[in-house]
Symmetry: C2
Subunit: 344 residues, 2 copies
């Protein structure tokens, strides 16, 4: 196989790089003054996601400032329910709000297939970013995993434990399964649209995967992400898929062994020896700096970076955080992290 010239894609294909490629989850976001300035011009958060000019600019901001090895499309996982007919809005400082699916009339009230026209501005953003990126920087598209997206659709908001969706899955596994199926199909169509517009890798974010017991994890996390990854691979074998089942704990090993993703995103709680022996031994890994270590800076940051490089640097690795960067993070700490990884 030809080795890709882009470091991110090479690492996701299993190449061990002397210096691991680096990007950050939520790298386009509120910790950047240029983001906050631009954000003030958009009426709502969703307006920003659906405006190709603004969204492309936001996506490119961290690349210009830090020279990351990858850009990630600026968007939100909840554009999928939005394009299935469950309209989403974001309350400043609080989070997303949707009419809970039951109040809406259940699955029957939603579209069968996702409205790709509604998502056209997202695809346009992808195309613009791809055209504007430096040659060595890869563009990552993404979607939320069906389980995580379903938790918001059912609760109508983020909750501390997303119990409403978990309870629905216990009480009516068939009905919940139908929702997961709908989201799986929608996610495939959405990711293929991003890839056709120019995304060179895609990540599936399952931020709430970690609250599930193992049997439920198998059914609502591994199985749907597997179907998404399989469909992407069938249509575009050249595009690597990163699965990020945050909080999977011991189940990370099963996830890596069973789900046909190309790489596995690790959260910051994963033990590094386990990550190396049970996950990286099977697939390239991405992660997993504690966002609070980045916020803290100083020795805590240096030590955390070094530990990751020492444990995972001899295998295929994409350096990243173990979750999104926190808005209060000083920019100097981000630069310090990058310098430390690259001076390796």
């Amino acid at each position: 196989m030809r080795v890709s010239p882009k470091p991110l894609l090479a690492a996701l294909r299993g190449e061990v790089r002397p210096v691991p490629p680096i990007w950050m989850m939520r790298q386009a976001g509120r910790y950047l003054p240029e983001y906050r300035a631009l954000r003030a011009n958009a009426k709502t958060f969703l307006d920003l996601c659906y405006d190709p000019t603004l969204a492309a600019e936001v996506t490119l901001q961290p690349i210009r400032r830090f020279g990351f090895d990858a850009a990630i499309l600026f968007s939100d996982i909840l554009v999928v329910p939005d394009a299935l007919g469950q309209s989403v809005r974001f309350v400043e400082g609080e989070g997303p709000r949707l009419p809970p699916l039951d109040e809406l009339g259940g699955l029957a009230a939603l579209r069968t297939g996702i409205d790709l026209e509604r998502l056209a501005p997202v695809f346009e953003t992808v195309a613009r970013v791809r055209a504007a990126l430096p040659a060595e920087v890869a563009l990552i598209g993404f979607c939320g995993a069906p389980f995580t997206v379903a938790t918001y659709m059912i609760a109508g908001e983020g909750t501390s434990d997303q119990a409403p969706a978990r309870l629905a899955a216990y009480r009516d596994p068939q009905g919940f399964g139908a929702l997961i199926d709908r989201l799986t199909e929608a996610s495939i169509a959405y990711l293929l649209g991003q890839i056709e517009a120019g995304a060179e890798a895609v990540q599936v974010f399952d931020s709430w995967a970690g609250i599930l017991p193992p049997q439920e994890f198998l059914r609502w996390v591994m199985e749907p992400i597997g179907r998404i990854a399989g469909a992407v691979r069938a249509a575009h074998p050249e595009v690597p898929v990163i699965g990020f089942p945050r909080g999977a704990g011991t189940l990370y090993a099963d996830f890596a062994a069973t789900v046909p993703v190309d790489a596995v995103g690790l959260d910051w709680t994963v033990d590094l020896a386990f990550a190396r022996d049970e996950v990286q031994a099977q697939k390239p890994v991405q992660g997993n700096l504690d966002p609070l270590a980045l916020l803290a800076g100083g020795e805590a940051l240096d030590r955390s970076v070094d530990a990751i490089l020492a444990a995972l640097g001899a295998g295929p690795l994409v350096f990243n955080l173990g979750h999104g960067i926190l808005p209060q993070t000083p920019i100097a700490h981000v630069q310090r992290m990058i310098d430390r990884v690259r001076s390796r």
Copy 2:
């Protein structure tokens, strides 16, 4: 060694019981109508904790109704900061409130040793419950683990990610370590007081252990719980200590191997094969039914109970939930769970 006649203590000592002993975290609580009726008579939640008559009655309620194999002292983990001089109150429907430690003046504003006089009503509750319990029912005392208690002392409340304490630990590990040390000593004195009053086993709850990366977990979870367990063992080798590092994931194996507790509490996300091979192979385990499966009832409940019995029933096991019972849980579901475990 003489086999204890109480099933709970026997299981915690490693005996494999044909029917595992069973109790539930938060078994004395809001899902019980008799608790809600009694609760209405106490001015505040803390009044209830510090009233031996009421607290003993609440502790005994679930024993009378369900015949559990253990009673657990009705109290709260935050009586420890309260007895160190950081006064605690509970806001109905919201949770605990403390003046954040920094605003109070830091560690210097607290007592060096815990005020055992302030905790005398708790010890009195223990003595009353012990005297009132049926012969085969064991009495469990408890405390919060230093890390979890510290997260509330620093934030002044519960937060979604307890970031303030984690950030403090990164920024000032020495200062944070001094707080952990203070809490470790206080916890030892508090548990020894409970044991001297009649507690026959003790559990150390580290509800927030799962948010820490491995190196921090080692330092702020395993090390302090190890010191507490070691001190209890030195003074009262007959009293088993259950460690519950909720959310420890892969680190459960290290915890079981390294920390001198007698048994390990498992949360509901732990894979049962891992629990059997990596934890129960080293120590008796306790857990780990998903509280939402209990709330859901029906087939989801039966299946979840059966899976635990099938995976862990051949080794030393205390059947329990993987976290506290939820207030909305129907009483009939609790009875169904007990019947299913006992009809094994």
